[in-house]
């Protein structure tokens, strides 16, 4: 191998001269905003103070490795395409072209660019393959982060910055998922098949292993050996080695033409690769576990096949047996024994070679009593935790209205804790904004989340969670947030909010949705389309338990007393989600709406743990009449889902249970009781008013995106839906339960 490093600086950009070979990555480039205004380090330069986080960002020197094996290459467009986003993000970087048997025009063009960021590595020999090219490129790379990209713009180059950011949050390896795909359907189908097979055989969950854009820390390549076609499985291998592998979605770019099948050999090789890799990663240390199972299965199968012919021959006097299947049986048995033999040979090989397979990696050995060599420096894992949780929202320190530096990006894996902290500190944050809600909605209903963050430098200024929901009833839409009653933008000021909404609009257009639904509680001024179907009911709780009853109007109070004294109902906290669910589904059916699936409630319970409480009301015989699921958020209690048995009417059960939940909340020091939303002027709304709550308007808001988008008319108050609702309520439970659970996916 014979690397050539061009080192002449480009005229007219003195502030960004190429770093000296071998020197530390430049630490000062963050202070000098380069290129356009979208700059990660912008606020540190403007404010004059140096934020440690910003410094850390600039230390991320990124090496982009581009293996080239095709001499048809538009060098200029490629260098320009990959350089621009990296420059704009203020990252120090280098582009390493690894030329695998490419001569002539490409190296000449590269040299003529005179770009100090561009390096070239010539491989000696032809067609050595991507694995070797990647290792060779990584050997020349100086960066801590190595990004592998193909020699054409397969994804939007801006997304590389996202990969780098994910690495910065602590991931060791970033696999990308081109989503949505824009290449011909045949390619997509093949790719899907390949990834599906991989999932089935190996049980790993990657969506797009064929995407050749990956980001990794240097250590990954040092530990994971890749050879042949194995580079494709790098994420899988890295994960098996214990590295933290994260998948991020990237925007796919139109690819030219290649609408094709490959040769049959390619498919065969792919399948063999998958098998080899799954064997190597799983059974390297335990060959007998693999061969033993196969062998035992073969033996049992063989015995089963041959026992009948053998019996007939020996005891029933089948003279000339016409049962050639016996041969198959005996082959299987013998083959099984041989497989076990193979396993044992494998075990002996491993046993004797085990000392070469040292399978641990020591980071450091600390000797007792010595002063810690690292004493002066912060302990690494502390920094990482501090980075995600410690610096929280704290927007006050940053000068406000720095709109030019405002950047909108997606939430990265590993930032959930920071997101939750931001939500909880924001005045209008709600339970539904928490990332737990996202996880449960994603798991239960498979809607796709896009969680947007607005940041200036490293400080967060606002967030907007949206879900992409496809439904045959209401069409495609973006909702913030489905299944919740509050949602929408949480922002430090109006400019941030508008920027987030604009970005969400673009996301919506990309997904081809009709409108964006924002379930805002707080009104916001200006021209907008809103939706005043719903009201919500919230009230401050009294300080003393005794005052709860006093705060309820007389009539409802009488109902509560009647429930307690006449019907001797009791109130308790329960743990049984299934019990709650039965009542919930029962009530939903009576009302003529599909229920949510049991998985949803179990998912909530698993995700939020003690922040979800279940209460139940029982009659003296111990029958549960009513159950309520409440969410605890800060000092607020949301009585959110409820269900009651059909024979519980006229006993004041509802008045009783909510009164008791309020008392329960007061005892535990909660400040605010949220009775949930209702449609205006329905029975439920009247009931809540009778309990002494005042309706507050909900300022749901719609942003129309499509050409002929219109507002949805699919809600329970629509008279057209009267009949289906009546029919639904007549169907038996065993139909409405499962069907409704599935239907609810489309009724966010």
């Amino acid at each position: 191998m014979n690397p050539e490093v061009s080192d002449s600086a480009v005229a007219g950009r003195p502030d960004d001269a190429g770093p000296e070979p071998g020197a530390q990555p430049p630490g000062d480039s963050a202070g000098e905003p380069v290129g356009s205004g979208i700059d990660a380090g912008g606020d540190a330069g403007a404010g004059g103070s140096v934020d440690p986080d910003t410094l850390r960002a600039s230390n991320a020197f990124v090496s982009v490795v581009i293996p080239v094996s095709n001499p048809q290459l538009d060098v200029e467009a490629l260098v320009d395409g990959y350089s621009r986003p990296l420059l704009e993000a203020g990252l120090a970087y280098e582009l390493i072209f690894v030329l695998d048997g490419v001569h002539g025009r490409v190296p000449k063009d590269l040299q003529e660019l005179h770009d100090p960021h561009v390096k070239m590595v010539h491989l000696q020999g032809d067609g050595l393959g991507e694995s070797i090219a990647l290792s060779a490129g990584a050997a020349r790379a100086r960066g801590r982060f190595i990004i592998q990209v193909p020699p054409y713009l397969q994804i939007e180059p801006v997304e590389i910055v996202k990969v780098v950011q994910t690495l910065e949050t602590g991931a060791d390896f970033v696999a990308t998922w081109r989503h949505p795909r824009v290449d011909p359907w045949l390619n997509r189908l093949q790719s899907r098949l390949f990834n599906w097979m991989l999932r089935v055989v190996m049980g790993v969950r990657f969506h797009d292993l064929n995407s050749s854009v990956r980001g990794m820390r240097r250590e990954v390549l040092e530990e994971v050996n890749v050879y042949g076609e194995m580079f494709r499985f790098l994420p899988v291998l890295a994960q098996r080695q214990g590295f933290d592998v994260v998948e991020v979605k990237v925007r796919h770019r139109e690819e030219q033409g290649t609408f094709a099948f490959y040769g049959i050999g390619v498919y065969v090789r792919r399948v063999l690769d998958i098998l080899a890799i799954s064997f190597l990663t799983r059974f390297t240390q335990k060959p007998l576990r693999f061969f033993g199972i196969l062998g035992v299965v073969a033996i049992l199968l063989g015995i089963a096949i041959s026992v009948n012919p053998l019996y007939n021959k020996v005891f029933l006097g089948d003279s000339l047996s016409d049962r050639p299947i016996f041969v198959l049986g005996s082959i299987l048995v013998a083959f099984g024994v041989q497989l076990i033999g193979f396993g044992l040979v494998g075990e002996i090989i491993i046993f004797t070679q085990a000392s070469h397979l040292r399978d641990y990696k020591i980071e450091e050995v600390l000797e007792g009593g010595e002063p810690d060599a690292d004493g002066a420096q912060p302990v690494p894992e502390d920094v990482e935790h501090g980075g995600t949780e410690g610096d929280g929202p704290a927007p006050a320190a940053v000068a406000a209205a720095s709109a030019p530096n405002l950047r909108i990006r997606e939430l990265l894996p590993g930032e959930d804790a920071r997101w939750d902290a931001f939500v909880q500190e924001h005045r209008h944050g709600s339970f539904f904004h928490l990332t737990g809600w996202r996880r449960v909605v994603e798991e239960t209903f498979h809607h796709e989340p896009t969680y947007l963050v607005a940041e200036v430098g490293r400080a967060w200024r606002g967030v907007l969670p949206v879900f992409w929901v496809k439904s045959p009833f209401v069409g495609k839409q973006l909702i913030s947030l489905p299944y919740g009653v509050y949602g929408g933008v949480l922002a430090a000021d109006d400019s941030v909010r508008d920027a987030l909404l604009a970005h969400a609009g673009e996301v919506g257009k990309r997904y081809g949705v009709g409108y964006l639904e924002l379930r805002h509680f707080q009104p916001r001024g200006g021209d907008r389309i809103s939706y005043d179907l719903y009201v919500t009911f919230r009230k401050e709780l009294p300080a003393q338990v005794e005052d709860v009853m006093a705060g309820i109007p007389k009539k409802a109070r009488a109902e509560v007393r009647r429930a307690m004294n006449k019907f001797e109902l009791t109130f308790e906290e329960i743990d049984d989600v299934a019990l709650f669910y039965n009542l919930f589904a029962e009530e939903k059916r009576r009302l003529g709406t599909p229920s949510l699936p049991l998985r949803w409630f179990q998912g909530l319970r698993d995700e939020f743990g003690s922040r979800i409480v279940l209460h139940a009301v029982k009659d003296p015989e111990g029958k549960t009449l009513c159950s309520v699921m409440s969410f605890l958020y800060g000092d607020e209690v949301y009585a959110y889902y409820s269900g009651s048995a059909s024979d519980s009417r006229g006993k004041g059960v509802s008045d009783f249970v909510y009164c008791k939940i309020m008392e329960w909340a007061v005892e535990r020091g909660f400040r605010l009781f949220d009775f949930g939303r209702s449609r205006r002027d329905t029975g439920a709304a009247k009931f809540k008013q009778n309990m002494g709550f005042e309706p507050q308007p909900l300022n749901y808001e719609f942003v129309l995106l499509g050409e002929d988008a219109k507002l949805p008319e699919f809600h329970p108050s629509n008279p057209k839906l009267e009949r289906p609702r009546r029919i639904w309520s007549k169907l038996p439970r065993f139909v409405t339960g499962p069907v409704g659970g599935r239907l609810s996916r489309y009724l966010p």
């Binding site: 080695q241 576990r289 041969v327 076990i340 033999g341």
Partner: protein
């Protein structure tokens, strides 16, 4: 130089590690002989490492090995052995279910002339259905197959002479069978009842699914301790049923049975002849695999290393 080295793999034991260190130090100080504690952190993510860093500054008898990432219990144990300097090596769990005050007794027992002393948790404090019953079955099985009469293979509180752990390379789940493998090397083994506490903090990291793997591992251990020097014998045993099937099937091809009894068939039965041929073919194959195994063993330095380690320890 320390005489006694205590090796403990740790993984996410943030609540236990300080208490563990305190009680260990107390127990080992009472022995009045030089000791060291080797704590191997197997890539914890819960703050265990931070505590280890602060502990190591205060205690000159502590060595801490930090893994870059989680590698598993056996590699952690192996790394601990590699860093232990004492002539007596003690292993135990990091979850405080073992009692460090048992260590002096076990060491005393070792010095009565044994090479391995195993702890026996006679009164275990674990869930009956998921832990105790599978464990009893597994132990009975292990006793029968390995022929090493210890009751509690799963107890990680064990004391070894250093040569035992030095001559074994640990991989996969082997740490559980150090005693059995040691017996294969000729170590003398004893057993003492030790105390066992219920888990105080954290969660147990094993479950029921382990038992299947233990069975497969046992077959391997059996082979390694009894036949490692001559694998051809083991493969011979494996091939034996096929060898026996060959003449039987061959004979079946020539005879037929009817009401009167067996008689020579008029034509021979091609199906059973083929079965016999298959059996013979594969029997030879399996037997010859044994030669491959012999080759592999001869090519490796395993046995040479083992004898040199044992010899130098004997000279000490």
């Amino acid at each position: 130089m320390p005489e006694v080295s205590v090796v403990i793999p740790l993984f996410n034991e943030v609540d236990n590690v300080r208490a563990l260190h305190a009680s260990l130090s107390y127990a080992l100080e009472s022995m009045r002989r030089p000791y060291e504690i080797v704590l191997v952190d197997d890539g914890s993510t819960d703050g265990t490492r931070r505590i280890l860093r602060s502990l190591v500054r205060q205690d000159p008898n502590l060595r801490v090995v930090l893994f870059r990432r989680n590698c598993g219990q056996t590699p952690a144990m192996a790394a601990g052995f590699d860093h232990a300097r004492g002539s007596i090596v003690v292993t135990m769990d990091g979850d405080l279910q073992n009692d460090p005050t048992d260590i002096p007794r076990l060491v005393e027992e070792l010095e009565r002339g044994y090479d391995i002393v195993c702890g026996w948790r006679r009164h275990r404090k674990d869930a009956m259905a998921t832990r105790l019953i599978p464990s009893m079955l597994a132990n009975a099985l292990i006793r029968r197959t390995t022929g090493v009469p210890i009751h509690d293979t799963g107890c990680s509180l064990k004391v070894y002479r250093a040569w035992v752990v030095r001559s074994l390379t640990l991989y996969s789940d082997m740490h559980r069978f150090i005693a059995a493998l040691g017996a294969g090397l000729g170590a003398r083994i004893s057993e003492l009842v030790v105390r066992h506490h219920p888990r105080r903090f954290g969660r147990s990291k094993y479950g029921l699914s382990r038992i299947f793997r233990v069975v497969i591992d046992l077959v391997v251990i059996k082979m390694l301790i009894q036949f490692a020097a001559h694998p051809i014998r083991w493969f011979g045993i494996l091939a034996l049923p096929l060898f026996l099937a060959f003449p039987l099937l061959l004979v079946l091809g020539f005879v037929q049975s009817d009401e009167t009894g067996w008689s020579l068939a008029p034509n021979y039965d091609i199906v059973y002849m083929s079965g016999a041929a298959v059996a013979a073919l594969f029997a030879f194959n399996v037997f010859l695999l044994g030669f491959l195994a012999e080759l592999q063993l001869k090519a490796s330095r395993f046995f040479r290393r083992r004898t040199t380690v044992a010899a130098t320890e004997a000279v000490h």
